[in-house]
């Protein structure tokens, strides 16, 4: 049974990454249209993609949105996670459930609803409105990620520090943040990567600006070029790089702390 489950898991993982591999193959052929087996390998489409000004702008827009979303989501999510798991208060159960509602909601519909709302407010659509749209979905996720860390946190430590005369800011800086930072760091990684890969919310809320997933979708529907799988692979590699870097840093600091 153990072996069967291991085998099944392996098979599903292979299926999970098979389409990503297909994208890599399609980006490395020379011809305009994808044929397999690839006749002539080439990095021409990679060179074109990397030197394209249009794609540079897309990447910058996506990065700007993801960076703003990360900062805002971590701050709101950190405070929200304390309300979720640290303090016991009367409305907590209700709050916990309300927080989950945006996660349990189809994103394309949420994107359209936000479009109507921005329109009713008269707010001009740009990548800034997309930041707000991403936050509605990403803040609950980040709050949950940090809350899981908060559950393992002993509130008595904060109280002890306060009893010994630490100010509220000192307690936060010397006790709460150092103990919770792995959760905060994971929350930041989630925020950045989920925003980077998001399509349904961006589609309706970026206005004239365009993100990487939006451009990819537009080209998939009409006007396929091998730059589509190339940029798709590039975005995937960037996400993997960010994850490895973030995860590696987390593991490193943990190890240093345990040693010290």
């Amino acid at each position: 049974m153990r072996r069967a489950i291991g085998l099944w898991t392996g098979l599903v993982v292979v299926m999970l990454y098979l389409p990503v591999l297909c994208g890599v193959l399609a980006s490395l052929g020379q011809s305009r249209y994808f044929r397999f087996p690839v006749q002539q390998w080439s990095t021409a489409w990679w060179e074109r993609t990397l030197s394209s000004i249009e794609i540079g702008i897309l990447i910058r827009t996506s990065l700007a949105i993801a960076a703003c979303v990360t900062v805002a989501a971590v701050v709101i999510g950190f405070v929200g996670a304390l309300a979720f798991a640290r303090y016991d208060w009367r409305g907590r159960r209700l709050y916990q459930k309300l927080l989950l509602l945006p996660i349990f909601f189809p994103q394309p519909v949420l994107g359209l609803a936000l479009l109507l709302w921005f329109n009713a407010l008269g707010a001009p659509l740009s990548w800034w409105t997309a930041v707000v749209a991403h936050l509605v979905w990403i803040v609950p996720v980040v709050t949950l990620v940090i809350a899981i860390q908060v559950y393992g946190f002993d509130p008595a430590l904060e109280e002890a520090a306060a009893d010994m005369g630490a100010s509220r800011l000192m307690v936060l800086r010397e006790v709460t943040l150092p103990l919770l930072w792995p959760g905060i760091w994971s929350g930041a990684l989630f925020a950045f990567l989920l925003s980077w890969g998001n399509f349904p919310l961006s589609l309706y809320t970026t206005g004239a600006d365009s993100t990487v997933p939006e451009w990819l979708y537009a080209k998939m529907v009409a006007g396929y070029t091998p730059m589509v799988p190339t940029l798709g692979t590039l975005a995937t590699l960037a996400a993997a790089g960010a994850l490895l870097l973030g995860g590696g840093l987390l593991a490193l600091v943990r190890r240093v702390r345990e040693a010290g």
Partner: protein, 282 residues
Amino acid sequence: MRLGPGPRHAIPVGILLLLGFAAPLVAVTAYSLATPRSFDVFRSLTLANYRTILDPANTVWLSFAWSLLLAAATVVLLAAIAYPIAYGLARLFGRWAGLVGLLFVFPLFISENVRLYGWVLFFIKGGVLDGTLRTLLGIGGPDVLFTPGMILFGMVYVYLPFMLFPLTLGLAMVPRDLIDAARDMGASRLQIWREVELPLAMPGILIGFLLTFVLGAGAVAEAKVLGGQSVIVITHDIEIAFTYAQNWPLGSALAVLLTLLIGTLVLLVLWRLDLDRILGRR
């Protein structure tokens, strides 16, 4: 009046949800009551859009039916596919569980169109499957793209993590001692599963089912990228009303109906759950 620390910390999230989630839903509801094909929101009140949808001559109910059917099928298939993996993550993989879990999280960070388009490259004529079969066996690949079955395949593929992780959380809630005790007292494997594991893991199972059903009911990328135009799902109809048809009130009315359906289901299930226990308060 002074707020306690709990409610005070809930304020930022509360403001975000109020302005970014509740208010847009109110805006959609207001638009759904406006004159068809107009932008006179808040100035006209009419049920004409709902009447159009409920008119027996209108075939939009078919889109609803497709979406719900595909979502239900996704849930059933994912339960069967993800359960053994969740069991492995919660019990068997030990120190490898973190790494295996990461492999299942990572695809969430790749835009779903990119992953779905990878399947198009796999299944298309002249693509990876077709080319491989042609080279090895001299026969072409099956013609499966742009069919309802393919949409289902894409949904199962995209929503796997949303089933897997709640199931894993649920199974992690089952104390190992309890299973050992049941075994010592002579319970069979099936009995342990049915009488111990399943009831104790139920909160996680429910969340997984609910989440995949709700996301599946609102899914649209799968139908557009992998399904061609073989099936129009409800979210696609809503999008069409907002874009090509320029009939925001009608699209809003459809969105309100979908939201009501999903919202009722979510509230019914979510209200029974104890999130502290699921997320691991000790």
